[in-house]
């Protein structure tokens, strides 16, 4: 299977006359990357004396910061500075927020934390380990607030509010209307609706963020090296936050970047933070994000709650759509959000011809990590709703889902097609693509497989999806979030300036520079093909540089690597630049060869006359002339040393008065179908066959196009089956390691069957369209449709965690045996730990009672307790240094006693905080005489633990808690009985430390 699929990408035909574009040549990038010679940000040397930063982060989802004590941290040898919010505020200003509202957005918490992982302090030291040592000495006092994590709950009145500047937690609301949706709904024979919760996930590149920043105090100028990916509109956001004009922020990128998929756009708040640290210390400062930081607090894709309704004719034709989307952007609306919601605005009808559309868009903030760019960017959320609904329409009307898809597809004769919401779909033949996929992907045979499997009682299903993949974003689409009046006031925003520079040196060799910031997509190779074709050279003759330096290079706000813009926009612009140079070279050559410029061709390293190929001159000779003998150039030729071209497609206009927006330039088409089987025992979803048909216009490099498809497919499979940034109801983050945030590996990812059709885009120089994101949009819903088909169920929530299917597939569980153990039902997301137990104690209840209330006894049973402060008779504070098992940490605890009923019962309530997290608990203890002079002690408790331990050791938390609480009472019993055994204290600090000790090793 693998064999056949890869073969086609490999056959490199070297026959010379074919153009280089369209061939799968080997990549120029690879030799270095394969032998350890990559130059990623952490591989590059830094200036001597460069300091290293670490970031102390919030363990709380929502809390006020009462105080931060950094003295001990500052005193540690090797520590240069500790910056808190106040210090950062002194040298920066807030990041701009994407909607009009009086809210601020700082890269570090000021007086309140709003998500687990929010930066609270930056420690700068001679090396990273020392900085981390110091971070542990910082004492932050928090006052927790209630947290809100669900986007719909965030809108309910009375829930905790994150920002005073937003009404409730609503950051933006807009309603749109296209055509006459009310009429269409009123007249349609059917109306179908679907409610969707699209989960949070992220494309998690294997290389994390990195920033090296320095500040020149004399000129008040910053120099930053970061593995940022663009868009460079963010450069203005950073410069503004650092309070310098753009020309005093020199932003560079390293030659190599270890994947991004959008995610590395999110490094920008850290650029501000590290630049501020450089300014405060007067030294270069380097920060390499670690994996725990990345998972907890880099960026995630948005999660979204959507209600989508369709007005439908009897034959399945969709007459109108009504979208109600609630977008969850996390704790802050960071630039360019709420772009995820608006990126698809022109494409809300997908691949379908639907003229009447209603949209209500709301953006909410919740106590979760802020969102940002992620491959697919809004597409997965939209298509999950749309394509699930299409399947539901088919099932409800008793139609074949594929028939409903084809019935609604935009007609091939109508391109370029203007969608109801404003997109101009450039080209395509969707019916043909579907027909070819059905034939080449052997749908009939797949259906037979399904029938056979079902006949054997197996759970087998087939899913379909059709998707339009937008690429090359209009820089103005985000302004659709503003009303037409607000837009008029703000001035127009639109276009997508791409840049490329082609240079010739004194020996006539060719250099290309673009501002495309690749993260593994092989831009250097493709550009060498494109430019080689123009000059009649070989790719190896062209040297391409894709690093960016905002102080020296041509760039625009649209520069960067996002929205699949490379092939369509950047490569095309490079072609235009090369052609411009070639035009001049042709004039020079024409004068030297005594022919007309129109008679000139570039081929095989020569510039020659078409009519008389013998009449020719070496390319390098002509190319070098501008350097050596500008005087001998024909007057009209101009220089040929260097040419920079800027290109922006005229089709990308700003939103019109009626909010129609052509949000992207190109629109590829994808049609997927797949067969899946659900294992009856494990309930795992196994992909039997996955067929994906792509029309991405002209293919520049088949190997790389397939690489993008496979990579996107693997990430989408992760989103569908494994990956979720999970939060508990209290805002604790639960998937903080790669052992809990599950990325698919070789044993989970099958090979998709990839097919192509090429309908060139009339709007791009090379006819190419983007291809990088499509499967992230199509695959999750295609798999969900197949699973819905297999199980015959209406509601599917991603990721398809097998355990969640148990009720659907098996119905009620067999009950426990009579008299056996029972299990309390637990609400999902409720992470409070509850338990109970009992112990027998030798002393009488009065004696035990006295012990419980006695600080001295408490001190003696709490291991490592330095001091118990009796605040009142029933209120204690304690400082504890704990070394249980391998863990030692400092904790501060506070315990109060309530409802005292001496000597029968008491309630304890308290909390503790330390470097590894925090906990709070309430416990009720009852004492009763056992009839033999002793006491029967019974206890029940209800505890919650958050912070670092919750995010990296969730799986084992409650078992450990029970063990430790049990241990305390055993110890207390022994103490009362004179046994004197040391055990854990009933102390959250003991509990925390113990729990913490248990998790580190999990993989």
């Amino acid at each position: 299977m693998v064999q056949a699929a890869v073969q086609s990408a490999n056959s490199v035909d070297q026959s010379d006359d074919r153009p280089w574009v369209g061939r799968s040549i080997e990549r120029v990038e690879d030799a270095a990357l394969l032998s350890g010679g990559g130059r990623f940000i952490d591989d590059l040397g830094v200036a001597p004396g460069t300091l290293h930063a670490t970031i102390l982060r919030s363990p709380h989802a929502h809390a006020d910061i009462l105080s931060i004590d950094v003295e001990a941290a500052k005193r540690l040898a090797g520590v240069a500075a500790v910056l808190t919010g106040e210090d950062v505020k002194a040298v920066t200003t807030t990041l701009v927020v994407g909607v009009k509202a009086p809210v601020e957005c700082w890269p570090i918490a000021m007086d309140r934390v709003r998500y687990v992982g929010e930066p609270v302090a930056v420690v700068v030291a001679t090396d990273r380990a020392r900085a981390e040592d110091a971070a542990e000495l910082i004492n932050v006092e928090y006052r927790p607030r209630g947290a809100v994590v669900d986007p719909l709950s965030a809108l309910v009145s009375g829930v905790p509010v994150l920002h005073d500047g937003f009404p409730g937690n609503l950051a933006s609301e807009r309603a749109f209307r296209y055509g006459d949706p009310e009429k269409a709904f009123a007249e349609a024979p059917h109306r179908f609706s679907i409610d969707i919760r699209y989960p949070r996930n992220s494309c998690t590149p294997i290389e994390t963020y990195g920033v090296v920043a320095s500040h020149d105090a004399g000129e008040d100028a910053y120099e930053v090296l970061a593995n940022f990916q663009g868009p460079f509109s963010i450069h203005t956001v950073i410069a503004r936050a650092l309070k310098v004009p753009g020309n005093r922020l020199r932003l560079r990128t390293p030659p190599d970047s270890g994947g991004s998929f959008g995610v590395k756009q999110g490094v920008f708040p850290y650029i501000v933070l590290i630049a501020a640290a450089a300014r405060v210390t007067g030294k270069p400062v380097k920060w390499i994000e670690d994996r725990l930081e990345h998972l907890t607090a880099s960026v995630s894709a948005t999660n979204r709650a959507t209600t989508l309704s369709a007005a439908v004719a009897a034959d399945g034709k969709i007459l109108a759509l009504d979208w109600d989307q609630v977008e969850d952007c996390g704790a802050h609306l960071r630039a360019p959000e709420p772009a995820t919601l608006y990126r698809m605005h022109g494409n809300m009808t997908g691949a379908y011809d639907v003229r009447h559309v209603k949209i209500r868009n709301r953006v909410v903030v919740t106590n979760k990590t802020p969102t940002g760019l992620n491959r697919g960017f809004g597409g997965p959320q939209v298509y999950f709703a749309l394509e699930r609904l299409v399947q539901r329409i088919a099932i409800s009307l008793g139609l074949d889902p594929l028939d409903v898809i084809t019935r609604n597809l935009i007609d091939a004769g109508t391109f370029p097609y203007r969608t109801a919401t404003g997109a101009l779909l450039d080209s395509g033949n969707y019916q043909e693509a579907v027909a070819r996929a059905v034939a080449q992907g052997r749908l009939a045979e797949l259906k037979a497989r399904r029938d056979e499997a079902r006949a054997q009682g197996r759970l087998y299903g087939i899913g379909f999806t059709a998707v339009v993949e937008p690429s090359v974003s209009n820089m103005g689409y985000i302004t659709t979030v503003l009303t037409a009046a607000e837009r008029r006031k703000a001035g127009p925003k639109n276009g997508a300036q791409a840049t490329a520079t082609v240079g010739l040196d004194p020996v006539g060799s060719v250099t290309v520079h673009v501002a495309s910031v690749p993260q593994g997509q092989g831009h250097r190779t493709v550009l060498s093909q494109v430019v080689a074709d123009v000059f009649g050279l070989q790719p190896k003759d062209i040297r391409v540089n894709t690093e960016i330096d905002t102080a020296k290079d041509a760039w625009s706000i649209a520069s960067g690597n996002y929205a699949s813009r490379f092939a369509a926009a950047v490569a095309g612009t490079a072609k235009l630049a090369a052609e411009r140079v070639a035009g001049r070279l042709a004039r020079i050559a024409a004068s030297q060869l005594n022919v007309e410029a129109a008679d000139i061709v570039f081929a095989k390293g020569f510039v020659a006359s078409k009519h008389n190929p013998e009449n020719r001159i070496a390319f390098s000779r002509v190319a070098a002339l501008s350097h050596w003998s500008p005087g001998s150039l024909p007057d009209d030729a101009g220089q040929t040393i260097r040419e920079t071209v800027f290109w922006t497609p005229p089709e990308l206009t700003p939103p019109d008065e009626d909010d129609r927006i052509n949000s992207s330039l190109c629109h590829g088409f994808i049609f997927d179908f797949c067969g899946v089987e659900i294992d009856r025992t494990t309930l795992e979803t196994r992909i039997d066959r996955y067929v994906t048909m792509h029309d991405c216009g002209t293919i520049l490099h088949p190997g790389m196009v397939n690489g993008q498809i496979r990579g996107g497919f693997a990430q989408a499979l992760g989103a569908a089956l494994y990956e979720e940034y999970a939060y508990a109801e209290d805002g604790s983050f639960l998937t903080g390691t790669l052992a809990d945030y599950l990325l698919p590996t070789t044993t989970e990812v099958p090979e998709p069957e990839i097919f192509h059709m090429e309908t060139p885009s009339p709007f791009t120089p090379l006819g190419a369209k983007g291809v990088g994101e499509g499967n992230c949009m199509s695959t999750p819903v295609c798999l969900a449709n197949a699973v819905a088909d297999a199980l015959g169920v209406a509601d599917i929530t991603l990721p398809l965690v097998p355990a969640r299917l148990a009720e659907l597939v098996r119905g009620d569980e067999p009950p426990p045996p009579a008299g056996g153990a029972t299990t309390a039902p637990v609400r999902e997301g409720d992470r409070r730990l509850r338990g109970e137990g009992q112990a027998s104690v030798k002393g009488a209840p009065e004696q035990v009672w006295a012990m419980l209330l006695d600080p001295a006894t408490l001190q003696s049973v709490i291991p490592g307790c330095q001091r118990v402060d009796k605040i009142t008779d029933t209120h204690f504070g304690a400082d504890v240094t704990l070394g249980i098992g391998p863990v030692s940490g400092r904790y501060r605890a506070d315990v109060e006693l309530f409802d005292l009923d001496p000597p029968r019962a008491v309630t304890l309530r308290g909390g503790a905080t330390g470097a590894l997290g925090f906990g709070n608990a309430e416990g009720r203890i009852t004492l009763a005489p056992d009839g033999n002079g002793g006491t029967k002690l019974a206890y029940s408790y209800d505890a919650a633990i958050g912070g670092k331990v919750a995010s990296i050791g969730g799986r084992l938390l409650d078992g450990a808690t029970r063990v430790i609480i049990g241990q305390f009472f055993t110890a207390l019993a022994r103490k009362a009985g004179g046994g004197g055994a040391a055990g854990g204290g009933f102390s959250l600090f003991a509990l925390l430390a113990k729990v913490a000790s248990l998790f580190g090793g999990r993989r």
Partner: protein, 172 residues
Amino acid sequence: MTRLKADARHSVRFSLNGKLVEGEAEPRMLLSDFLRHQLGATGTHVGCEHGVCGACTIIVDGMLTRSCLTLAAQVEGCELRTVEGLAPSADRLGVLQQAFRRNHALQCGFCTAGILMSLDHYLAGNPTPTEAEIRDLLSGHICRCTGYTPIIQAALEAAAELASSKKETSDA
């Protein structure tokens, strides 16, 4: 018995790709950091520092080793092999590396060094692996770019090529 004190740097010596190297490290310094930042062997990458992603995988005394889960002090006197030692010469790639390039088995290249080391080690002892065996081996690595298939294809091709070239030499 050797006891290295926490707050001091100690000399660490070992053989790296056949050459003796030496540097200084505190006991807590990870081997991945030592290789990269003390010795400048930056071809070994770090993606998670908790043993899951596989980017940092190298070979120590013939054992596949996560260098992020190893202390520099632990490899005193050992023989280490890293991606920098794979190519037969500076301007030529080895069979496995070539197969990767041919098959587009890498995109960003960040995960690649670890994967190459696992394959290099495995193919030496298992010259005729099946696809399932390669998938099992490589399940200890995460690649976020390629979707894996080209990597598996490259591994199978390299194995076949290595086996046939071995056969040729033994026939000769």
